[in-house]
């Protein structure tokens, strides 16, 4: 069972639709008990870290996610979901986050003439091999919409990077968690390939 966590952070219809294209009926839930039974978890979301964390705590989804990680269920974070898995976010004044991975979410550095939010298609340079990158060609682009990015404490947790003014980590991962700052569900066939790879992944990856 693939569970998509709904914590009122944006529209989940495109994630559900993409899974449907792959022949998988994802279950959208706000219920921690459902997350506890999930074989596989997708943790999407757009919006601000502060509000997201407040809702996750209120629904007790914060614990459910931490437990899902601890028991080894493959987890895919997307966009805001890739940010709040870290310990802190600079958004909304040092928001305390889930702390599944060490590190913090930082604002994209502003510079003259650089558009923020980083919105549109951009490339990802894969720094390490990972099962979810299987079959993705060099030069493929993915759809981004964000002003913050995840910055894990350990360098080996950065799986892919992207350029927008500066270089930032756009794919992070450790053990059974992998997370993309971009939206695979809106990134055409390469995004779909990544989702398909995630559905086939057993969750094992370097410690």
């Amino acid at each position: 069972m693939v569970v998509i966590i709904d914590y009122q952070a944006g529209n989940l219809t495109s994630v559900v639709r993409s899974l449907k294209v792959l022949g998988v009926a994802g279950e959208v839930t706000q219920d921690p008990a459902v997350v506890a039974r999930a074989q596989r978890v997708i943790f999407p979301g757009v919006g601000a870290a502060g509000k997201a964390m407040a809702i996750l705590q209120e629904l007790q989804l914060d614990q459910a996610l931490q437990e899902a990680f601890a028991r080894g269920a493959p987890i895919l974070g997307i966009c805001l979901g890739a940010q709040v898995v870290l310990e802190y976010s600079d958004e909304n004044e040092n928001t305390r986050c889930l702390g599944v991975l060490p590190g913090r979410t930082r604002a994209l550095p502003r510079q003259p003439g650089l558009k923020i939010p980083h919105m549109g298609w951009n490339q990802v340079r894969f720094l390490r091999e990972h099962p979810i990158f299987k079959g993705l060609p060099e030069g493929a682009e993915y759809y981004f919409v964000h002003s913050y990015y995840p910055s894990p404490a350990q360098e080996d947790m950065v799986l892919g990077v992207t350029e927008h003014g500066a270089t930032f980590s756009s794919v992070i991962g450790w053990r059974n968690l992998v997370a993309t700052q971009f939206h695979p569900e809106k990134s055409g066939r390469f995004g779909l390939q990544l989702l398909e790879n995630f559905l086939a992944w057993d969750g094992s990856y370097a410690e």
């Binding site: 558009k115 549109g120 990134s187």
Partner: protein, 259 residues
């Protein structure tokens, strides 16, 4: 490096696309879903739909179109035209659009932008601007005025001021249409586009006047636009998106070439 986006724009009335289209393959030219699928496969980076349905009791047809388009493509698309309140926004977003575009309603009630950004996130809220060049005055210091009704009704609002105000209110993007250039196929309004794009930090989509790939190159460099809206030049089969992107790449402009 962030690619410049090429965005076909489709006008929809009563659930049917309005422009006569000459595709080489067998696409039903009046079917917005078939056209969306065609442009998705042809390399469009995003799509824009404008609902020009006149009668309000036929609006639900558009929601059904949005639902079907969302099931047919895996790239972002926005929907504009007739979005008057939060309920309209919610209906379009829940049907599967990534973004909603507000224009006249936001000028009449600017708080709609703030409320939309609060409820759905800034990334969902596109400010549509129809702009006309006028003589500089105290009320319109930039010399560009907001207009409605296809340019027939001036609003007395300075376009530069309004773009910055909308960003402050929480708009995530601006779709900037020059009424003077619209439909001419003689090139985008570069001065206007450059002025607005330089004055805000959110992305600006240039609209109105595209006729050749050279026009896109101009507006994406000189005009500083982040994306270019196109209509007739692809709807009538004059150019393919591939041809446009190949040209832009040769000019050193970053575009998405794999899809």
């Amino acid at each position: 490096m962030l690619s410049k986006r090429i965005i076909p724009c489709l006008d929809v009335r009563d659930g049917r696309t309005t422009k006569g289209i000459k595709f080489k393959n067998n696409v039903d030219i009046g079917d917005p879903v078939a056209m969306a699928r065609h442009y998705y496969e042809a390399g469009a980076d995003e799509l824009v739909f404008y609902d020009i349905t006149a009668s309000s009791d036929r609006r639900d047809i558009m929601i059904e179109v949005v639902r079907q388009v969302a099931a047919a493509i895996l790239i972002p698309f926005s929907v504009g035209g007739g979005i008057r309140n939060l309920q309209d926004m919610r209906a379009v977003l829940l049907a599967g659009a990534e973004k909603v575009s507000v224009n006249t309603a936001a000028m009449l009630e600017p708080n709609l932008i703030a409320a939309g950004a609060r409820d759905f996130g800034s990334q969902c809220i596109v400010l549509g601007m129809d702009v006309k060049k006028v003589a500089s005055s105290e009320a319109i210091p930039s010399g560009y005025e907001m207009v409605i009704h296809g340019g027939r009704t001036p609003m007395g609002i300075d376009a530069l001021w309004w773009a910055q105000e909308a960003e402050r209110l929480g708009a995530g993007e601006i779709c900037l249409n020059s009424i003077d250039a619209d439909g001419t196929q003689a090139g985008y309004e570069l001065t206007l586009t450059r002025m607005i794009s330089a004055a805000v930090s959110i992305p600006v989509i240039a609209s109105g006047g595209a006729g050749t790939p050279e026009h896109l190159a101009e507006v994406l460099t000189t005009g500083r636009a982040d994306a270019a809206l196109i209509a007739s030049m692809v709807h009538y089969g004059t150019y393919s998106i591939q041809e446009i992107k190949d040209y832009l790449q040769q000019r050193g402009i970053p575009v998405r070439l794999l899809w």
